[in-house]
């Protein structure tokens, strides 16, 4: 991974964290949590032609821990596990449909929420939140993948 792509990923993750702060404050009333920064990171790992190294995912995770104020190592741990799984099945994913891949993203987002809440929200741990978040994240991933495929020609020409 070169310097430019790492900066780009970190930039998008920071935006994701800031957006999360606004979106999830509202969505949590409906038992929904969307870990945008984690989904952005997972998307970059999934789309990357060269595999993310363990070192890169560890340090990105530590960076996210620092700026999000969670326990140091928590995001690093989840990012490492996610990177390993996605790298291991990188080519297998090509056999799957967008719907299946969206469900996969929904599952890893739910695992992320579950694991982080084990540490930061153990007093109010809720399986209902996990279930609703799983459905929401899967649907969101699917909508995003559909938008990406059927994006307007204007954006496609500009490679956006």
């Amino acid at each position: 991974m070169n310097q430019e792509s790492l900066t780009k990923i970190l930039f998008y993750i920071v935006i994701g964290i800031n957006l999360e702060a606004y979106i999830n404050t509202f969505l949590v009333n409906f038992l929904i949590i969307i870990p945008l920064s984690f989904l952005i990171y997972s998307y970059f790992v999934y789309k990357s032609n060269i595999a993310f190294s363990a070192t890169a995912s560890f340090f990105i995770g530590i960076f996210v821990d620092l700026i999000s104020g969670t326990y140091i190592g928590l995001n690093a741990l989840v990012y490492l596990i996610t990177t390993y799984i996605i790298n291991s099945y990188k080519y297998v994913f090509r056999l799957f449909s967008y719907l299946q891949i969206s469900i996969f993203f929904g599952i890893i987002a739910t695992v992320y929420i579950g694991l982080t809440h084990l540490f930061i929200n153990i007093s109010n741990y809720s399986y209902l939140i996990l279930f609703v978040s799983f459905a929401t994240n899967s649907i969101l991933s699917f909508i995003l993948s559909v938008i990406r495929v059927y994006r307007p020609i204007f954006f496609r020409n500009r490679r956006l």
Partner: protein
């Protein structure tokens, strides 16, 4: 052309997973990384403050300065700050019985600035609303108006409606406040003859107590007021904190009482850190 196989060597991942797990253990059990985290937070907040105070605000106020409204605006801000101070002072005066460790110090508090009992006024700089609504780590950051000489760690923080929490770190004149509803926070409370250490529930405005029916048969009822007991010497005595909202039977011996706090941190931007020596 053949594609590169992704690097999925389990060894490097295993090593980093072990290191990450070790970091979590250190941070969770011993707060090992609290200093770098506090340093990072205070640096971010200070720079945000500097950018806002010295660059953004002057830029925004250029048009109003041109129209000679700046003096009026400044006066308005000062009056608003003064009014907020008065609200908090009124709260302290109305709760004077036992507010300070030395009760006869109220006059000093009102009249003299070098009093042993002081309210150090501060403004909100950051409120972690995401964690407040989603998770159980309820914190906010405040900044004192004047640079304090006293050690502010563990001092209670109040607003015009009551106690909100206590200072847990103080760096670069920015204080991190752990709110009463934080799941790691305890406050000693009293309600009639019932005493307990109320623990933050991790839900906004809710604190809980566990008690044994063998010791207290029926000490509380829904709607009953509860107050700070002052045990431990951190929080002032006898400040109204809120009401009982629910009593649940956990098992044959234990009950859990849920209290709703009266002081809502979302309603205020102006606070005071209580210093009593």
């Amino acid at each position: 052309m053949a594609m590169n196989t992704p690097n999925t060597s389990i060894f490097s991942y295993a090593i980093y997973i072990f290191i990450a797990s070790f970091f979590i253990y250190l941070d969770f059990e011993f707060n090992t990384f609290s200093k770098p985290k506090n340093f990072y937070n205070s640096t971010i907040l200070t720079s945000k403050f500097i950018v806002t105070d010295y660059f953004l605000d002057p830029l925004i106020s250029i048009p109003s300065n041109l129209k000679s409204k700046s003096i009026l605006k400044k006066e308005n801000n000062e009056l608003r700050d003064q009014l907020n101070k008065e609200y908090i002072s009124k709260f302290i005066i109305s709760n004077n019985e036992g507010f300070f460790l030395e009760e006869d110090q109220l006059e000093n508090f009102i009249e003299k600035e070098d009093s042993l009992n002081k309210a150090i006024f501060s403004k909100l700089v950051n409120f972690d609303s995401q964690n407040y609504f989603c998770c159980d780590d309820h914190k906010m950051s405040i900044r004192t108006i004047s640079k304090p000489e006293d050690n502010l760690i563990q001092r209670p923080v109040i607003s015009e409606s009551g106690i909100l929490g206590q200072v847990i770190s103080d760096l670069n004149n920015i204080q991190e406040v752990m709110l009463l509803s934080n799941s790691r926070h305890y406050i000693p409370i009293v309600s009639k003859d019932f005493y307990c250490n109320a623990k933050g529930s991790g839900k906004p405005l809710i604190v809980t107590c566990l008690y044994s029916k063998l010791i207290w048969e029926d000490p509380l009822e829904v709607g009953q007021d509860f107050y700070s007991s002052g045990l431990g010497g951190i929080f002032p005595v006898g400040i109204h904190l809120g009401k009982v909202i629910e009593i649940r039977e956990l098992n044959e011996i234990q009950r859990e009482v849920r209290f709703k706090l009266h002081a809502n941190p979302l309603e205020h931007n102006f606070f005071a850190i209580m210093v009593s020596q």
